[in-house]
């Protein structure tokens, strides 16, 4: 049930935006007399788009092969597809609530699926580096209040997380902002220092920084560029510093964690990956607390088994193993590498999403649900892991995604012949 919380004027409701991993919880939604969205206060362009996509008049609640269908029949068919699949895939999860994620994991377990949040595709493979070395990290408030140096490594938050600097109180004459990227991005334009680094030179640069931080002799001292030396000096000289990044590859993330660890022997350094989706962190958290693993989990053997890389959604699709897919709040046809997307087009897909996406339009069965954060309350985990409540400023008569997932799961529990 929608339960708006007043935030001042009678028709203004408090809200949380799910437009990126920052999930800003200071948004106000001004609602018109007929219950529609009039305008938004404090949203960024991404947030405006996020709300707009969710309040647009959506397609029918249930569609089968693109045509409107009765909800019950569509749920039966979805359950039949998923229960009859030999190797189903559950994908997405990063844009919905922890509760829907919980329902999706339960469903994946019930059908013996591989389940993989979209984070690996959208944000890169960070899990193996974490499992190898661990990490040092902090919540946004601590980075805002303590970090004397903020390094943005291969990320452009001005475009991807537009309110990040506002929320971190940057730029700030008393703190240093260093940006490292292959070109002068909008973020770089705000930096005190910009270090241009070709896209394939992360490992080299990070390893050089490690050597500088550890005071290890470097064979060709003269070849180390001045900006890298300056950066190493800045980081080791500060009392508290933060590295915000969108470093993607396994080896690159490992090198970054290794540098952070070296720095931590000298001073207090944290790193934070700038995840794209509003609840990408929650998807990994829920999967981890229920299974022990944050991503690429297979329930095919009746218990959780994880193999990052091998059991990534893209890999499972590219190898032609997945023979049906449940997509929750995600548009993989727009995100996956071409070969994986091609396979996804060839198998029956069940889409559960508040939006009309390319994946939903192409799906065998598509449910267009009420939107978490607009029509339904819930909890998401911000990119730093902090749980944040989503509100429900607007009303919708549609069921929520977790209700649709639970209805599918409930049908799986029925005797098999009833599904045919």
């Amino acid at each position: 049930m929608p339960s708006p919380e007043p935030a001042g004027a009678p028709l203004t409701w408090a809200a949380t935006c799910g437009g990126c991993g920052l999930v800003c919880d200071d948004i106000e939604v001004v609602v018109g007399e007929r219950g529609g969205l009039e305008h938004l206060i404090r949203t960024c362009p991404l947030g405006d788009a996020w709300f707009a996509e969710r309040v647009a008049p959506g397609p029918p609640l249930a569609r089968v092969d693109g045509r409107e269908a009765e909800l019950d029949g569509a749920l039966d068919q979805a359950a039949a597809i998923l229960s009859q699949a030999r190797a189903p895939l559950v994908y997405g999860l990063g844009q919905t609530t922890c509760d829907a994620q919980r329902a999706a994991v339960a469903l994946a377990e019930a059908i013996g699926a591989v389940i993989d949040p979209a984070g690996t595709v959208l944000d890169g493979a960070s899990g193996l580096a974490y499992q190898t070395l661990g990490a040092s990290t902090a919540t946004l408030g601590d980075i805002r209040d303590r970090a004397e140096v903020v390094v943005v490594w291969r990320a452009d938050p001005v475009a991807t997380h537009p309110r990040l600097f506002e929320r971190l109180g940057l730029p700030d004459p008393d703190r240093e902002l260093v940006v490292i990227d292959e070109r002068r991005t909008a973020t770089a334009a705000q930096a005190d220092a910009f270090l241009e680094l070709p896209a394939d030179r992360d490992v080299e640069a990070l390893w050089t920084l490690r050597a500088l931080v550890r005071d290890t002799p470097i064979a060709d001292e003269a070849a180390v560029e001045r900006p890298l030396r300056d950066l190493a000096a800045r980081l080791t000289a500060c009392r508290n510093g933060a590295i915000l990044h969108r470093v993607r590859g396994h080896v690159e993330v490992l090198a970054l964690h290794a540098l952070v660890r070296d720095l931590c022997r000298v001073t207090h350094i944290v790193a934070l990956m700038l995840r794209r989706e509003g609840n990408a962190a929650g998807a990994e958290d829920v999967l981890a607390w229920q299974t022990g693993y944050p991503a690429a989990v297979s329930f095919a053997r009746g218990h959780p088994r994880a193999s990052p890389g091998e059991l990534d959604a893209a890999a499972v699709l590219e190898r032609g193993e997945a023979d049906a897919a449940l997509v929750v709040g995600s548009d993989p046809l727009e995100q996956l590498p071409p070969a994986a997307a091609e396979r996804l087009r060839a198998i029956p897909v069940v889409s559960v999403d508040p939006r009309d996406t390319a994946t939903a339009a192409a799906a065998r069965i598509a449910f267009t649900t009420a939107a978490p954060g607009v029509h339904r309350a819930g909890v998401v985990h911000r990119l730093d892991g902090v749980p944040i409540p989503l509100r429900s400023p607007l009303a919708s008569s549609r069921p929520s995604d977790d209700e649709v997932l639970a209805a599918i799961a409930e049908r799986l529990a029925r005797p098999r012949e009833a599904l045919a």
């Binding site: 499992q131 408030g141 909890v379």
Partner: protein, 542 residues
């Protein structure tokens, strides 16, 4: 309804020690009698105890989950299949949530306290507890490095009590935990720490924080007193800090967490030795104080703590995986997987000190069993620990295998021949913790108690006996039957209800706007699905 017939009942809270009698259950409670036709469990030759109560463990929340994610190799080696009644999962020292609930129940434990929750992460803790079936659970809020509270302690100490009650109400918490007060704040600033109770941190000192918060908890009359993880954990010579802390608390009730880790003599940086006898003596003489042991068990563990500077030291010991996570305003967090080895001097000394504390304890009601799961070892090692306490020959055999120099630093070889009785085990594993937590319906089998009952086959090998209870009843329903888990319903959240002056809202709102990165109105947990089913335990003296 259920009659547990003719078992040897150990119900120390009601003065019952092995008497053969019936225990009757109806509608989730222990009752005087049930009709003759009620279903019965024939418990002849079996030992009947209240369900176990774990006063200090780490089972849910961001810190636990970060540790879970760190150990795929442990999970791969220990899997649990899905069944008609159970969800699947993985084990190891940090099991998945479902498996945590199952294994506690299979061990005969029905109530567990998550001992270290950052208030900002309460929703995460609650969500994990909701997925931790069977057991009732409570959590303690980390309040010893909270900058907003420090500010109140300096400027408006009379408000500290209202602020604490507000925090408990806003999160669903049960009690208040201090972890290395002041030290974690210095760690987050620039890798610092405190070394004494009088070091200055943000305008306060550890002593002032301990005094103010213990005082506030005392005034609120929370069912569980302030739960303290002292400064200088693990440091040689830290027993003086522990005594100093106890003296600062004096007169007020307090519970010391994992006191074993705080009972070291020697000089900082040097070799630790045991000061267990001194601390046991002090505890014995001060009835307002209690502690759990935090026994170290040889084998794998995962250290996880809000005491992040300690984790950095452990990182330098292992050179292995390490997690540091700073939570704004409130706390820090450190995680290091760790293995305790019997031949290692320090590990053997820690193991020995834990046993000394147990064996020298004069009052089992106030020195209760824990391994600080999974810091000193998994909760699955409790049965082995019980055997160490109950079986002198077994203990002496283990002593001979441990590092000799370490054991010589303890009094274990000096005719510490004590063997715990079943009654004492019932006290340190259920009756005592329940009493210290102020859970009046837990830890005993008198009429009106919760119908949480564990039934063991009486066996000479106490480790086997306590590792595999025959039957476990939770809220009147059999959940373990003949050693098999047969049902896994949700347990209850145990939360405290402590009144406060609503004017504290304005004070805290200003603090939040200055310090937090979340809105004040986002902070209190309001989601009913996270807070139910719950039981409220009232603060106040009666």
């Amino acid at each position: 309804m259920l009659r547990i017939a003719s078992g040897s009942v150990y119900d120390p809270a009601n003065g019952v020690a092995g008497e053969v009698r019936d225990v009757c259950l109806s509608e989730g409670k222990v009752v005087e009698d049930v009709p003759a036709h009620a279903p019965r469990i024939d418990a002849r030759g079996m030992v009947v105890m209240p369900g176990g109560v774990d006063i200090h463990a780490h089972i849910a929340g961001p810190k636990v989950n970060a540790a879970r994610r760190l150990a795929p190799e442990e999970h791969r080696a220990d899997v649990v299949d899905r069944s008609a009644v159970l969800r699947s999962g993985t084990g190891g020292t940090v099991p998945s949530t479902f498996v945590t609930g199952y294994r506690y129940a299979l061990l005969g434990y029905t109530t567990v306290v998550e001992a270290a929750t950052p208030p900002l992460a309460a929703r995460h803790v609650l969500a994990e507890l909701r997925d931790t079936p069977i057991i009732d659970a409570a959590f303690l809020l980390l309040m010893g490095n909270n900058l907003a509270l420090f500010d109140l302690i300096r400027r408006d100490p009379a408000r500290v009590r209202d602020a604490i009650a507000w925090w408990l109400g806003a999160t669903g918490g049960y009690g208040v935990k201090l972890v290395n007060p002041g030290g974690v704040e210095l760690w987050k600033r620039a890798n610092g720490n405190v070394t004494s109770l009088d070091d200055e941190v943000a305008g306060v000192t550890p002593r002032r924080v301990i005094d103010a918060i213990a005082g506030a908890v005392h005034e609120l009359a929370l069912p569980h007193p302030v739960h303290v993880h002292c400064n200088n954990l693990g440091v040689a010579g830290n027993w003086r800090t522990t005594l100093d802390t106890l003296q600062t608390l004096e007169g007020r009730r307090a519970h010391l967490a994992h006191i074993q880790f705080h009972a070291y003599g020697g000089r900082p940086g040097g070799r630790p030795r045991s000061r267990a006898p001194e601390l046991a003596e002090y505890l014995g003489a001060h009835p307002e104080l209690s502690a759990d042991v935090g026994q170290v068990m040889f084998g794998p563990a995962t250290t996880m703590t809000a005491d992040a500077p300690v984790s950095a030291l452990l990182r330098d010991v292992t050179g292995g995986k390490w997690v540091n996570a700073d939570t704004e305003v409130e706390t820090g967090c450190g995680i290091v997987p760790f293995t305790y080895r019997e031949k290692n001097y320090v590990h053997a000394l820690q193991w020995g000190i834990g046993l000394e504390l147990f064996l020298l304890s004069r009052d089992p009601w106030r020195l209760v069993l824990s391994t600080d799961h999974p810091n000193g070892g998994s909760f699955l090692s409790y049965p082995r620990l019980i055997r160490l306490l109950m079986d002198r020959e077994f203990r002496n055999e283990q002593l001979r295998r441990a590092n000799k120099r370490a054991i010589r630093r303890t009094v274990l070889l000096e005719d510490l021949e004590r063997e715990y009785t079943l009654e004492e085990i019932a006290i340190v594993t259920r009756a005592g913790p329940a009493r210290l937590l102020g859970l009046r319906d837990k830890g005993h089998l008198g009429a009106g108690a919760d119908a949480d009952v564990t039934i063991y086959d009486e066996r000479a090998d106490r480790e086997e006996m306590f590792a595999t209870p025959r039957h476990v009843i939770k809220s009147g329903r059999p959940v373990v039957r003949d050693g098999e888990l047969v049902e896994a319903r949700a347990g209850e959240l145990l939360r405290v209800s402590a009144p406060y002056d609503p004017a504290i809202d304005y004070v805290l709102r200003a603090q939040f706007e200055e310090r937090y990165s979340v809105q004040f109105d986002s902070y209190p947990v309001r989601e009913p699905w996270l807070l139910e089913p719950a039981r409220r335990v009232l603060a106040g003296r009666s």
